[in-house]
Symmetry: C2
Subunit: 201 residues, 2 copies
C-alpha cells in the first residue's frame, strides 16, 4: 500500500512538476532543484529517468504539451459533426481560462517564443505540435467548405495559419495585460474573422 518502487509513476510526477516549473519560469530559467523540491525526490531520481534537463524539457513538450493540445483541440474538431460551428464555439469557449492560465500564458506559445531561436530540437518538436494544431483547423475549415458553409475562394491553409497565430497572439497580449477581459474581447474579434469566412446566406 505504501507503494514503494513505481518507476513510471515517479517519471510522471517529474514530468508534471517539470511542466509546472517550466510553465512558471520558462525552460532556461526552470530550476532542476525546484522540480525536485516539488516532487520530494532527489537528483538521482531525475537523472535516472532523464539523461539531462534538456531531455526532460523535450519530454514535457511531447508528453504534456502535445498530448494536451490534441485532447483539447484536435480531437474535438475531428469528431465534430458541424466543424465550422465547432470551431467558432472552440474559440469562444469559456472553460479553462483561469486567471492563472492568463497570467502564465499558453505553454506552447511560451516555449516557442523562448526556445525557437535558441535550440533546434525544441523548435522542431514545438513546430510539429503547432502544425498539428493548424492542420486540425485547416481540416475543419475544409470540411465546412465542402459542406458549403464556407465560401469557396477561402484559402483554408492560410486561414488556419492565421487563426493559430491570432489565437497565440491573443493569449500573449492578454498575459501581458493580465486581463481575462482583454482576452475575451480579442478572441471575440477572432470569432468575427472566422464568421467572415462563412457564406452570407
Amino acid at each position: 500500500m505504501d507503494a514503494t518502487r513505481q518507476p513510471d509513476l515517479t517519471r510522471q510526477r517529474i514530468l508534471e512538476a517539470g511542466f509546472a516549473e517550466i510553465h512558471r519560469h520558462g525552460f532556461q530559467a526552470a530550476s532542476v532543484a525546484n522540480i525536485l523540491a516539488d516532487t520530494g525526490l532527489t537528483k538521482g531520481a531525475l537523472y535516472h529517468h532523464f539523461p539531462s534537463k534538456k531531455d526532460l524539457g523535450l519530454a514535457v513538450v511531447d508528453e504534456m504539451v502535445g498530448v494536451a493540445l490534441v485532447e483539447r483541440y484536435v480531437r474535438p474538431l475531428r469528431d465534430a459533426a458541424h466543424p465550422a460551428q465547432a470551431l467558432i464555439e472552440l474559440i469562444g469557449m469559456k472553460q479553462g481560462i483561469s486567471e492563472e492560465f492568463i497570467r502564465l500564458g499558453c505553454p506552447l506559445n511560451n516555449l516557442m517564443q523562448e526556445m525557437s531561436p535558441v535550440d533546434e530540437a525544441f523548435r522542431d518538436r514545438l513546430n510539429r505540435i503547432l502544425i498539428q494544431w493548424q492542420e486540425a483547423f485547416e481540416e475543419a475549415l475544409r470540411r465546412a467548405q465542402m459542406a458549403g458553409e464556407i465560401r469557396g475562394e477561402v484559402n483554408c491553409h492560410a486561414a488556419a495559419l492565421f487563426i493559430v497565430s491570432a489565437w497565440e497572439g491573443c493569449t500573449g497580449v492578454a498575459k501581458n495585460m493580465q486581463s481575462v477581459e482583454a482576452f475575451r474581447a480579442c478572441m471575440s474579434q477572432l470569432q468575427g474573422y472566422v464568421a467572415s469566412l462563412l457564406k452570407t446566406s
Copy 2:
C-alpha cells in the same frame, strides 16, 4: 580624435549591445559578460551607468524598444493623410523583415512573453508600449471611421487590440516556423481582416 571619455556614447553602446544580447537570448538568459565582450568594456563601466542588470533591461525597453516602435508605427500612422490605407500598407510592408528578425522575433513580443509573469516592473513598461501601439491603431481606425471609410458599427478599440495581438501572433508563429513566407501569408490574412472592416462601396 581618439575620443576618450564620452560617457553618453559609452552608455549608448551598452544599450545597443544590451538590446542585441537580450534580443538573442531573452533578458534572463542575457549575460552581462557577453554585453561587455561585445562593447569591449568592463563591469566597472556598465555598473557605473546602470545600477543593475534589471535597470539596464528596463532602459533597453524604454529607450530602444519603445522608441523604435514609436518611430516605425505610431508616428507614420499619426502623420498619415489616409489612415485606413496607411494601416493596410503598414501591415503589408516588406521592409525590415529580414531573416534575422524572423528568427529572433519581435523584441517587444519576446520580452512580454518572458517577463510579464516574472517581473511587474517589466510588465508595466512593456504594457505601456503595447498600449501605445494599440492606441495608434485605434486612432487610425477611428479617423477612418470618421471619414466614412470604415463601417460605423466597428468597435475600433477591440479591433485595434486584435490587430496588435494578431500581429504579434504572426511574428511569433513565423519565428517558430523560421519562415518569412509564413509570416507574409499570415500578415496577408490580417490585411484581409482590416479590409473586412471597410465599407463595401
